[in-house]
Symmetry: none
Subunit: 128 residues, 4 copies
DNA sequence: GTGGTCTAGACCACC
DNA sequence: GTGGTCTAGACCACA
């Protein structure tokens, strides 16, 4: 996994976001084992405590669970993962719409532009 | 005008972007006088040289022009402003679509969500 | 404030419990300023980070809130404090009842003994 | 029998308490033979000397007696067992009441809560 | 080898 | 001076 960290926001937050993206986008599937804290920390180039905090916070959110001695796993509650994905999508849509409106576009105008735009194929299952 | 500057990218670039946004969103109209460099620089809390560079670059792009004796003005070439707005919009749409696709959404799914979303009223004139 | 810490459970948990007791018992009133993290940490003889964690967790629970530069305060939501007190009371009652039942007492027998027992005066307001 | 031992208090004390609980709760009846020291020690995972001390102390209290040739037995003096149970109950009640009063409850409030609480059925015979 | 906790010490933003 | 974050390094329980 590749990590993109910037100094302008708490690192643990960025780690949480990127791990969440891995989960909601299906790169980490329900029930999958998450690599050990120390391994992820080394990968991301952060202190193990920082990664630990990110994982613990995701656990409080319900996206992960810990099996004390065997490691951390992605939740098997697909509806929770779906809910998180829908929330993230809603946030991004709101940001996007505001940004476009700032440029003087209306909702209808945006939809028209979007329909003309090209895009690679997504996962149909995600659009329930 | 309120300026949002961050230390992770060239300041003059951010100034250019925000001035461009002012122009394409109609907060600065074609032919409007742009405030003096020193005034803008003070407002933004940057060195006048930095603001000067941003304005000069926008001038090279054609969005501004200088009347040596009376100051800087927004271009009166509306088609150029429109072209810039369309370019910015296209970039934002591409970013947005990629980001949504990463979450597992298809173009059709995104359009559906967008149509359901609420948004304040935009300027119809902007959607030529 | 006097702190009682034992090595058999996480310290931050014990700190949370004792701070919670301070709040639900009215020794810290709604809106009261909580002493600075570093001061509490020194008082309790723990690392500031450990006290910080306890306070941050209480904040997530809603018992405290932070005013970024001026310090931490007890929530002014009295109903939340009441809810916590009722929960703690319910837990203690359950433990007590189980322990007494283990000794062979029935609920009626326990109530009878309790009525005979002596106790200092409590705060009537707490028994709404 | 399952033993719960912690490192923060003398082991023999904890053994005494748990054996006493067995007796006053009727899991060991008056006149019952107590298993051999070595067996109990093995069960509890403690040194036989430690278990021996616990049993000797209970014997001094009168809850056990030794028949030099056939082993240790629970006392047949039911009134002594009852007295011990009442003492333990009184202690637990006092602790409980203090703890609840600390939360701001009055004796009357506690009794009310207790009456509302649910509890499995106890042994009526124990409430003389 | 796993996650969990704790300490010590540092730096930052904010006002 | 306040809370917030991060690093480095250590120790623990558990299986």
């Amino acid at each position: 996994m590749q990590w993109q960290l910037r100094g302008d926001r708490p690192i643990y937050q960025q780690l949480m976001e990127q791990l969440t993206e891995q989960i909601v986008s299906g790169q980490l599937l329900p029930g999958d084992k998450v690599p050990p804290v120390r391994e992820l920390a080394a990968e991301a180039g952060v202190n193990p405590n920082t990664m630990q905090r990110a994982l613990a916070d995701l656990e409080r959110e319900g996206l992960l669970y810990t099996n004390r001695t065997s490691g951390r796993y992605v939740t098997e509650d697909k509806s929770m993962i779906d809910a998180v994905r829908e929330q993230i999508a809603a946030d991004r849509i709101a940001d996007f719409m505001n940004s476009m409106r700032q440029l003087g576009f209306t909702k209808e105008g945006i939809v028209k532009l979007l329909e003309k735009s090209s895009m690679g194929e997504g996962n149909e299952d995600a659009n329930k």
